[in-house]
């Protein structure tokens, strides 16, 4: 094992690591569902970037990056979006139920 060269991949790798740390801090400590959800998405962005660094370092065979981790990240971003959308709808509904609005009708 030897130290990684100072290049774009290493720089963004360090950025990804810091983003994960920041996101983790927010997920655990922030109050309010929305803020925690935001922090979780920040964390996710950092994880994806780390995948991107792995892809960049795996460049070869004429590709600018290893296509497999990149494809994984694209799937990941879409799934993260779905989870976020579902979570937000849940949060909205929860606020609605909590709000003292007996005239709301429905369920």
């Amino acid at each position: 094992m030897s130290l990684a060269p100072l290049d774009a991949a290493t720089l963004y790798g360090l950025m990804g690591a810091i983003l994960v740390g920041l996101g983790l801090y927010g997920v655990v400590l922030l109050g309010g569902f929305l803020r925690r959800l935001l922090a979780f998405n920040l964390l996710g962005g950092g994880v994806f970037i780390l995948f991107g660094v792995v892809a960049r370092r795996g460049a070869g065979a004429g590709f600018g990056g290893d296509p497999v981790p990149q494809a994984l990240v694209i799937t990941g971003i879409v799934v993260a979006f779905c989870a976020t959308a579902l979570a937000i709808t849940l949060i909205e509904r929860l606020t609605e139920e909590d709000g003292d609005d007996p005239s709301g009708g429905g369920s």
Partner: protein, 308 residues
Amino acid sequence: MMGLVLDGGIALLTIGIAAWTIRAGDDFAAVVGFVAYGLVLTLAWTRLGAYDVALTEAAIGGGATGVILMRAGARVKPAPAARASRRARIIVGALSAAVAAGLSAIVLLPPQPAPSLALEVREHLASTGLGNPIGGVLMAYRAADTFLETVVVLLALFGVWSLGRDAHWGGRPGPALRPAEGGALPLFARVLVPAGIVIGIYIVWVGADAPGGKFQGATLLAAMAILAGMAGLVQAPATAGRRLRWLLAAGPIVFVGIGLAGIPLAGAFLAYPPGFEKPLILVIEVALTVSLAAMLALIVAGPTERAP
């Protein structure tokens, strides 16, 4: 050298925006911070040479996620922030820093040689008939994943719909599609929506041979549908509509149909018979794009709010 300075700048800016989003005083500010985060991450992905991912991040990470977050930011009453005690903050801060440090160590001490499947992809890419390696991976190696991914999107939509009130089941989705009053928005939408649709189709089309693809293109199409709704140009469709349901199901049905046909014709589920890879993949891509665009737009539109 110049490139490294730019990379350092982008990295610092991204970290700064992330930290600001965590610290922001109110929910609206945090949502703005998050959208900004998505935009700078797009720059980072571009610098990493991952143009496909950059497109996805710009479209879904910054755009679509940002818009549903705004929907929530406008409606969710801010929870009285439970201030964590000083001790908790120190402990969690230290733990988070330790995780970041551990990840940094992995980044700084990478395995040699770097693991990569690029060679394998190169060898087999020709058999898919596609020029875009990432599209090839998504549609050949990981076809089952890509199929399940669209099912996940569909399930998310069902989940969103299920969270509406019972009385509104099958009705029209509400929040994000309520037209704004007057102003420049209707004109803007009239010009931008057609342009955006052309660009969305273009992004799907170039996806076969260059960065782009169905998820990115579908998100652009969905964004245009939402924009038209915001401007009051179109009404949200009733979610019980038969045509809408078929539109949503068409992509997965075509995908699974071609996949099942692969069992007798090519020997495995989701295997493409030799010689027909590219046309079949294109048919799947087109069907999936249309369905995905509808799913994503309806997810952003939110739960049903009006009785059918």
